[in-house]
């Protein structure tokens, strides 16, 4: 897993370095985030909740705070507590403080990266417009079905994974969603997004949004492609706009 983290760091540094710098105060290691994950569960979750929204007006996972902005602010509140609000002062070691901050900044994803969250309303406009997301995706009944439906994306994927999907779609694509190319014995080519597969068959959403089931023995060619057809949002949107899109996507929790 560490290997993947560093690989991701390299990708971010290479293709979207300015974005990575814009969202991070500090560089955190996977080990920091894992430490924080354990400490959070033991010391913080009782009041702040396992999803970070247990205290009114605060959503730690989404980076919404009442009193703090920077990492130093977070460290100070941990050390002093908030007397009027009932938060005690914690006597953490420096590495432990760093871990908790890393976990919060990673959007509670113990393996992930820090996430920047902007304004949801702006993000929705970008998804509908400039981002052209609905030309493939579908959200709450609007848009196309060829790419995965995003209506509950915040419920099924972590913020870090969503951000990664926006920046580097291929590296974050869930294996089940991989594009498939099949050629029947009669020579017909079928392309689509994989929905299910077993030893003998594969089920797809084809490019015409039709449900298709293929028997592998009837195919002349069958190929599962590793490259996503989605372009990186970093090519079309600014870091601030991506943060806005993130904010909107994080509101999508399904029915």
């Amino acid at each position: 897993m560490r290997l993947l983290f560093w690989a991701l760091g390299f990708l971010l540094a290479g293709s979207t370095g300015s974005f990575a710098q814009a969202v991070q105060d500090h560089q955190y290691s996977t080990a920091d985030i894992e430490t924080g994950s354990r400490l959070y569960a033991a010391q913080c979750a009782l009041c702040h909740g396992v999803t970070g929204d247990g205290v009114n007006g605060i959503n730690l996972r989404l980076g919404q705070f009442r009193r703090v902005a920077s990492d130093d602010d977070l460290a100070r509140v941990l050390a002093t507590g908030v007397a009027g609000a009932g938060m005690p002062a914690f006597k953490f070691q420096a590495a432990e403080v760093n871990g908790i901050i890393a976990f919060i900044r990673a959007g509670f994803d113990p393996t992930g990266t820090p996430v920047k969250v902007g304004t949801a309303a702006k993000g929705q406009a970008l998804v509908d417009g400039k981002g052209r997301c609905l030309t493939c995706h579908r959200i709450n009944g609007r848009g196309i079905r060829t790419a995965p439906d995003l209506s509950d994306i915040a419920a099924v994927r972590t913020p870090a994974a969503i951000q990664r999907s926006l920046l580097d779609p291929t590296s974050a694509m869930l294996p089940i969603n991989r594009p498939v190319r099949a050629v029947t014995r009669q020579g017909r080519t079928i392309r689509g997004r994989r929905l299910n597969e077993d030893m003998f068959t594969v089920q797809l959403m084809d490019e015409e949004e039709q449900l298709v089931s293929l028997v592998k023995a009837d195919l002349r060619e069958y190929e599962v492609l590793k490259t996503s057809t989605m372009p990186s949002a970093a090519k079309t949107l600014s870091p601030e706009e991506i943060a806005d899109v993130m904010a909107y996507l994080l509101t999508l929790k399904g029915q």
Partner: protein, 550 residues
């Protein structure tokens, strides 16, 4: 009535007895009555090979479903049925026993045992089946009891405590009958038990012997456990063993040491965890052992079925034991003395760089955070293998390209509580992607073969190389059945029931039963017709050839 009593007394005086259904000698010669399936693994050799040959590669496509029994309880159904003279004895979760007409699927009786609410098991309320001796069935229970049940009426005869449920002892395996004894082992390897195999007088339930799988103070091997770690070292026995009557030895695979993932808490080899042990049937005395994974930190239980094979080894007729281990290596042992004859990895292995001349693995533990192959569920597991004396091949289910990342931590032992020493995550191609679990997680395979895939491997012990491998898309927990017509019946998590050519691995026939197949199929014959039964999901389906098909 009086006349009956008199006749019975007279017959008894003359040395006759009313014919019990399954006396010991029938079990000894189970291979000679392939119309029945008398023990968990078919015979004491545990080859799961049947001489029935009515169903052939030529007509297997004419199989049709004859009857179905629906499980009334949710959860993976790992039970292995017995068939005795047209009656099938079948268990379902947690501890129900059914007597079923093997021809129609109709029930004669249903016995329900309710285990204590204190029962604790790691991996589901499994029960893998009953054993039969005479007219009595024997079932181990989730709360660590052994129950004797009248095979005709389904009424309990006696019920004894084998292990303390409050200390998380459980029994999930099918008992093994040898001579006049019923043998069981205990589960609880995730709860800090001290494992054992125990033999009871089958008539009375009186304990005959008990052999711990972790040696006590003063016994050889005790010093393979640091300090008091032996007291809570696990080493459970939860899969039915095998028996060699000529050697008078019973063989058991022993499970993982505890805490599972922190070997630092129990420095030493941790005998006899992850070993096969050979016990004298009459005394329980340990005759030999072979340890597959010393000081295991990967949960590589050696609770596979010991498969006994009489075959040439380097030109000499030999008494062999074949073993595809959860740790990713396939072994050939001399079952007279436990000597290592050969071993080879059958999947990717990186926790060890190989085996030395004695079969001891050369450890290569991976750095923290790095993946270990094979992963926690192993290269294989409890799934019963098969050996066909016709093909000379050993067939088993393997998980290929499957790895986990282990995490160890110090765990304090508390009686009856989980005692794990860390945890693991399955290596996924993308962070947060769905992965495989102990059972099938959904009918939609959204984890895909990128986290690992199943395969049937046909290993040739003479060359130590697979003769063929038939991959599946999902991983598989299915067991194997071979027949004298060179058909291999198996399945997988995808729900396909498969008939493969035992010589080539080619799929001869398949049918989609929809639910995961997590046990081996069995075969039997009633009124001249060969049947094959398999459990898929919550359904046991019994197939036979369409009427009129030759």
């Amino acid at each position: 009535m009086r006349r009956t009593v008199l006749v019975t007394a007279l017959l008894a005086a003359l040395g006759f007895q009313l014919q019990a259904q399954v006396p010991t000698d029938r079990i000894l010669r189970a291979a000679a009555e392939p119309q029945n399936w008398l023990t968990y693994n078919g015979t004491y050799m545990s080859q799961r090979y049947s001489t029935l040959a009515q169903i052939t590669p030529a007509n297997v496509a004419q199989l049709e479903s004859k009857w179905v029994v629906q499980n009334q309880v949710f959860g993976a159904w790992q039970s292995n049925p017995l068939v005795v003279d047209g009656v099938m004895y079948l268990t379902q979760r947690p501890n129900d026993v059914m007597a079923v007409d093997a021809k129609t699927g109709r029930l004669f009786w249903l016995y329900r045992y309710t285990p204590s609410a204190d029962s604790k098991v790691c991996c589901g309320a499994n029960n893998r089946g009953v054993a039969i001796l005479g007219d009595t069935l024997y079932m181990g229970t989730l709360d660590g009891h052994l129950v004797a049940i009248d095979a005709r009426s389904g009424r309990p005869i006696w019920n004894i405590e084998v292990g303390d449920v409050k200390l998380a002892y459980s029994i999930t395996l099918a008992p093994l009958i040898i001579k006049d004894k019923v043998l069981v082992g205990v589960g609880g390897g995730e709860f800090g038990i001290r494992g054992f195999v125990v033999a009871y007088d089958a008539k009375t339930g009186k304990e005959a012997w008990r052999t711990y799988t972790i040696p006590g103070p003063g016994e050889p091997g005790h010093d393979s456990w640091e300090g008091d770690s032996w007291k809570t070292g696990g080493a459970p026995v939860w899969v039915t063993g095998s028996y060699d009557p000529a050697l008078n030895l019973v063989y058991w695979g022993v499970g993982n040491p505890g805490p599972d993932w922190n070997p630092d808490q129990r420095a030493g080899d941790n005998l006899y965890s992850d070993s096969v042990i050979a016990l004298d049937v009459d005394t329980g005395k340990l005759k030999w052992h072979f340890q597959f994974t010393p000081n295991d930190g990967y949960d590589y239980d050696s609770t596979q079925v010991p498969v006994l094979v009489d075959a040439n080894w380097k030109g000499t007729p030999s008494k062999l034991m074949l073993w595809a281990n959860r740790n990713g290596y396939f072994y050939v042992l001399d079952r007279t003395n436990g000597k290592f004859l050969a071993g080879t990895p059958y999947v990717k292995v990186n926790w060890s760089s190989g085996l030395d001349a004695n079969g001891r693995p050369i450890p290569t533990p991976q750095p923290p955070g790095q993946p270990t192959w094979p992963g926690n569920q192993g290269g294989t597991n409890l799934y019963p293998p098969s050996y066909s004396p016709r093909t000379g091949l050993f067939y088993f289910s393997a998980w290929q390209d499957y790895a986990t990342i282990y995490r160890k931590e110090t765990t304090k032992f508390e009686p009856g509580k989980t005692f794990l020493g860390g945890g693991f995550t399955v290596l996924a191609p993308v962070p947060g992607a769905p992965t495989v679990g102990i059972g099938r997680r959904s009918p939609i395979n959204n984890w895909t073969d990128e986290v690992g895939n199943g395969a049937v491997i046909a290993m040739d012990p003479q060359t130590m190389k697979p003769r063929w491998t038939t991959p599946q898309f999902d991983v598989t927990d299915a067991g194997m059945l071979t027949t004298a017509s060179d058909i291999l019946f198996t399945g997988g998590r995808e729900g396909y029931f498969l008939a493969l050519d035992a010589n080539t691995g080619k799929v001869l026939w398949k049918t989609n039963l929809g639910g995961q197949i997590v046990m081996a199929p069995i075969t039997y014959q009633v009124e001249g017709k060969q049947y094959v039964s398999v459990i898929s999901g919550h359904t046991l389906v019994t197939f036979a050839l369409r009427d009129g098909v030759k």
